[in-house]
């Protein structure tokens, strides 16, 4: 069993759910998180098209967007980009298939598409029936 943790754009969630459903792995946990990547959250104006252009100029300054925001008490939106975190647990043999389809659906080619992590899982239990491991996630 592997846990696939994907941090993706908010507006890509329906498509991702659809793609996972088609693969036959509809179960998932969704969390609303804030995050940032290598760009230090500076590209939020570009990443979220609904965000006003005025954010862009403010966050491109040096030394870092965060310290600039601190000094000038900019709204916190300049530091973090709202994302959806999706967690699914799947059997070992379908990990690459699921990851590939998630990448295909979420890829826009711009910064902020997100990251996908694959983590090992030692066990699973279905609470209702007490089934273990493989049966629990089937």
């Amino acid at each position: 069993m592997k846990e696939i943790m994907a941090i993706i754009r908010r507006d890509k969630l329906p498509e991702t759910k659809q793609a996972l459903e088609e693969l036959g792995y509809p179960s998932m946990t969704i969390q609303s998180v804030d995050g940032r990547g290598k760009q230090k959250g500076a590209m939020c104006a570009e990443m979220d098209s609904e965000m006003p252009d005025s954010f862009c100029a403010a966050v491109k300054l040096t030394p870092t967007p965060s310290s600039y925001a601190l000094e000038h008490t900019l709204p916190k939106i300049a530091l973090y980009v709202p994302k959806r975190m999706l967690t699914i647990v799947v059997p070992d043999d379908v990990v690459s298939k699921v990851v590939k389809s998630m990448i295909r659906v979420n890829q826009t080619g711009k910064h902020g598409d997100g990251k996908i992590f694959v983590l090992p899982v030692d066990g699973a239990v279905r609470v209702r029936t007490g089934e273990h491991d493989g049966e629990a996630i089937a």
Partner: protein, 105 residues
């Protein structure tokens, strides 16, 4: 690669994040969480707070950087009083960048 999950005081979040950024680890995900620890919450006179607000900072780094990140988080999140939080480290087998589709951090 290792995933580092740090449960820290919400008011220490900014200090931790800026220190990590300064050390070259700008990427992270954070979320507000509620929890309790060994002390089963907090007792203030007759009032008992069972679940206390914390911030969960999640970041994935290369194996050799784990110690560095740990020491930064410990240093910045520490007050010396109970409730400073916990840090968990778990293995990550693979990571992908969605924009390029490539494997790696």
């Amino acid at each position: 690669m290792k995933m580092i999950r740090a449960f820290i005081r919400p008011e220490k979040e900014q200090a931790v994040v800026l220190a990590l950024e300064g050390a070259g680890f700008p990427s992270l995900t954070k979320m507000p969480v509620f929890g309790r620890g060994k002390q089963k919450g907090l007792q203030v006179g007759p009032v008992h707070y069972d679940e206390l607000p914390k911030t969960l900072i999640m970041t994935v780094v290369d194996n050799e950087d784990v110690d560095k990140v740990l020491s930064i988080v410990q240093d910045k999140a520490r007050t010396g009083f109970i409730g400073d939080g916990k840090i968990f480290i778990s293995p990550v087998e693979a990571s992908y960048t969605v924009r390029t589709g490539e494997e790696g951090l």
